[in-house]
């Protein structure tokens, strides 16, 4: 029974993280379209889209920050797997636990310091070059991504220590790539 509840908990967390990822993924898509539209506007009609430089980089920054939450959970950071893959299971759990504890600490530092930066920016008046949109809402969204990463990394740490689950072995590509269908 207790294992079932654990499974449910993981499923709920998994669902939350999936939604976080989708929002971030959509942001990446929007920035791609924005740059394409801006290029067409500039070369085709000598009409640049205003503030495309600032807005695209800030929105992409948000997407990356939210993506951190995804990596914290899936364990697909770029890392050296050599030692962890060649030791007995209990040692491996200890190594994985240590690694994710360090990641959690780093994420906590980032959350703290970027939080300060947001507070600072709210008083500072930084704006984009052309449309003069305030920077701080973008920074605040980045900070929320850090908070989410703090949560997901902690969840992953629990899964490592409690369930002894391993971290994703090869980063930068995973299940979806392996499913690359042959189109029959």
């Amino acid at each position: 029974m207790s294992t079932e509840r654990r499974g449910d908990g993981n499923r709920i967390v998994g669902k939350i993280i999936q939604n976080i990822e989708r929002v971030a993924g959509i942001m990446l898509g929007l920035v791609t379209v924005l740059i394409v539209v801006s290029a067409i506007g500039r070369y085709g009609f000598a009409r640049p889209v205003p503030d495309v430089f600032d807005v695209s980089r800030l929105v992409l920054g948000i997407a990356i920050a939210w993506g951190l939450a995804s990596l914290g959970f899936h364990g697909t950071h770029i890392k050296v797997d050599l030692l962890a893959l060649s030791v007995p299971k209990p040692v491996q759990i200890a190594i994985n636990g240590f690694a994710w504890l360090v990641l959690l600490g780093f994420t906590a530092l980032l959350t703290w310091k970027i939080g300060e930066r947001v507070m600072d920016a709210m008083g500072g008046g930084d704006v984009t070059m052309e449309l003069r949109l305030a920077h701080w809402p973008f920074f605040a969204a980045i900070w929320l991504g850090m908070v989410a990463a703090l949560f997901t990394t902690a969840v992953r740490l629990v899964i490592i220590v409690r369930d002894g689950r391993d971290l994703g072995e090869f980063d930068a590509f995973d299940e979806t790539l392996l499913q690359d269908s042959d189109q029959k």
């Binding site: 640049p48 500072g124 008046g125 930084d126 704006v127 984009t128 070059m129």
Partner: protein, 317 residues
């Protein structure tokens, strides 16, 4: 020596603002302290990105930082007056005027966390383009890389498209046609090797951009009284003129070199055209007033203070 102070800037160490402004200033501080102070200079964004430099010195990541307040739009609304074109006609006397004005009207309000050492403008820069441009109509429909936020607004107002690329990428942007013109100081034509890309130069003092060297107050407080005195004697309006002179000379030499080069054309605008440019820039002053008022400043008093300081130093356009 007793104290090592770290100074960060973001241009290559060989070009004029560094080699004829920052480095000699640092050397002079070291000598005046009779060897008690050493200043370690970190050029070319080694310790941080150009737009982060204000925060870096404010937070003590470095002891000194060379900051372009125009890189962070909206952050220093008062200082932005130095970016409005056609107000200052000489960067050497102008540096002293800006320093005196800003120390009274600006720094206490918008840079309270740092100590101002010197103001460091280049000689009035201009518009360098592929096609000849002498009047404001020439901007319409063109993609132009502006020097700072205020020039970006100016380009927008005149119907052009501001293309934001960092200084080291300007050459690429021009060669690819991403931008067709750039506002830059004269010296940048050679510093960034742009003479093949833009050969038409508007021959008038068109805009200014003034960097500012700032010091962290805790770093200052940690010095002995004798060393504080050395720093104080190097953070003066006179030193602002002093460091501006080296950059000015380099810019003017670059202009002479362009004149001597048969492939380059310097276009002198007519009096009517100059008047048209100035009229076109007037909304920038109105926008500046709005921004300063919105930030809680007394725009009229600050503007008058600027004009008075420029006149007192014989630097009014």
């Amino acid at each position: 020596q007793d104290t090592t102070l770290r100074l960060s800037h973001w241009v290559p160490e060989g070009i004029a603002p560094a080699s004829k402004g920052i480095t000699p200033w640092a050397k002079d501080v070291e000598e005046a302290s009779e060897g008690r102070i050493a200043i370690q200079v970190f050029p070319a964004q080694q310790l941080g990105k150009a737009p982060d430099h204000y925060d870096m010195v404010k937070q003590g990541i470095v002891d000194f930082a060379w900051v372009n307040p125009g890189y962070t739009a909206g952050r220093f609304p008062i200082y932005a007056l130095t970016e409005v074109p056609f107000l200052v006609d000489d960067s050497v006397r102008g540096a002293k005027a800006i320093h005196e004005w800003y120390a009274e009207f600006g720094a206490p309000a918008e840079m309270p966390d740092v100590k101002v050492c010197f103001v460091h403008p280049h000689a009035p820069g201009t518009l360098h383009s592929k096609d000849k441009i002498t009047a404001p109509e020439g901007i319409k429909g063109k993609n132009i890389r502006p020097a700072h936020a205020t020039m970006a607004r100016f380009v927008s107002l005149l119907g052009g498209g501001p293309v934001q690329v960092p200084a080291p990428e300007v050459r690429e942007a021009l060669s690819r046609g991403t931008a067709e013109a750039v506002t830059f100081p004269w010296g940048a034509m050679y510093d960034f090797k742009l003479t093949d890309e833009v050969q038409q130069h508007l021959d008038m003092p068109f805009y200014m951009s003034a960097q500012i060297l700032l010091m962290n107050p805790d770093s200052y407080a940690g010095l002995s009284d004798a060393d504080k005195a050395v720093i104080d004697s190097h953070c003066t309006p006179e030193w602002s003129s002093n460091v501006a002179q080296g950059w000015f000379d380099d810019d003017m030499a670059a202009r002479e070199k362009l004149i001597a080069d048969s492939e380059q054309t310097l276009n002198v605008p007519t009096e009517e055209e100059v008047a048209a440019w100035r009229t076109a820039a007037e909304p920038l002053i109105a926008e500046w007033r709005d921004n300063v008022t919105a930030a809680g400043g007394d725009a009229d008093a600050i503007f008058d203070g600027f004009v008075k300081s420029l006149e007192a130093n014989d630097a009014r356009y």
